[in-house]
Point group: C2
Chain length 249, copies 2
Amino acid sequence: MRNVVLCLSFLGTAFHGWQKQKNAETVSETLEKAIGTVTGEKTSVKGCGRTDSGVHALNYYCNFTLSSRISCEGLKNALNAVLPETVSVKKAAVADDGFHARFSAVSKEYRYRIYRGAVKDPFSVGRALWYKYPLDLEKLNAAAAVYAGEHDFSAFEASGSSVKDKIRTVYESEFYEDGDFIVYRVKGNGFLYNMVRIMVGTALKYNEGKMSIDDIKALFETGDRSAAGKTVAGYGLYLYDVYYGEELF
Amino acid sequence: MRNVVLCLSFLGTAFHGWQKQKNAETVSETLEKAIGTVTGEKTSVKGCGRTDSGVHALNYYCNFTLSSRISCEGLKNALNAVLPETVSVKKAAVADDGFHARFSAVSKEYRYRIYRGAVKDPFSVGRALWYKYPLDLEKLNAAAAVYAGEHDFSAFEASGSSVKDKIRTVYESEFYEDGDFIVYRVKGNGFLYNMVRIMVGTALKYNEGKMSIDDIKALFETGDRSAAGKTVAGYGLYLYDVYYGEELF
């Protein structure tokens, strides 16, 4: 049995997230079905993380064991031939037996795209949050700077999570301009459920003058979700990359 | 009655082109319906050109007469509130009575996007032609250079057109790189039916070594459609802008 690792990209709005669910098309099920078609094997694919409905991935990693001796290039091409056009296998390789797409991850990087044009943009529908109100890049970056470092991110987690340890380290956190878009870039050792979306919502709340920098800092102490900003739309979020301590491909 | 001009953008894959058809959703019908909802008036909207099914528009112009005294800003906002998210009114203004979105146009500019990644890109589906084979920018531009100037473009027109005059002038014609994309930019005084898509298909045929530069030049003499390249997919084409001899907005 080989431990196969894939790097995927997918259009999040075409799926109800990564994880298997009843009566909803998810990326993992779609992929397992494609692997079955190509190799005849029933596999259980382990993903690098749960991504929500609508959330996109530019580089999503997963692994699974396979008996078939098909070459990695052959597997990649065969999967791409049967997968829907909304998900694509970018790379395939054989990893060490101990490799696990989620537990071996050292850090993750996300992007959140905000369209700031005066009128809606048909090309950004489902791909960026449309935000009509003034955006002050300097203010957004003042909020982003607060996030950097090791903090208790309880206030930035959606309710209903079973994760106990809420301490995460954010390595890089900045907003930058990209044409008609403002993009938030964040890299950290891990992210709680909905964390990035609440971080963006909180930066927007600060941008709107509805809270102060001290209010944001206090969230790490109080852990008060209700004092943070909204959970912004999933379709603006992109899993940009996941970093492992080893060369995979 | 005022002669109102709008600048729109729309996602072409959501519509069966601009022009009214039976049993198919088109941009002009969608817009006329929205104008009816907002003003209660039945209008006949004149577009700057027929765009095919799947073809996108970044700036599409149209005009129509209106009795309502609604302000242009008010009309724009009200239309955007009722239009589907795949079409958007970017600007609205009152034009001179003689203005006609199609006949007053002096020149038009298109873009054609080609995705050249090794694997399919879920984010480019319906937005760019995926072309897996090697693309030589220098060769593409050698073909593009042939198109510049005044020529008989009969060989670059889909059959079934009733247009008599096939002479068009191409002012600007070039391929350029944009990340994982190659983009064709063309500006001219007018374009025949499917002309840009056949121009791109012919440049690709030359890129593939299946015809020579002299073969392309000969197309202006022979008018032989069958000797030109394929009509590439409509979803890679974007109406980039239309130029009028006057300031409209």
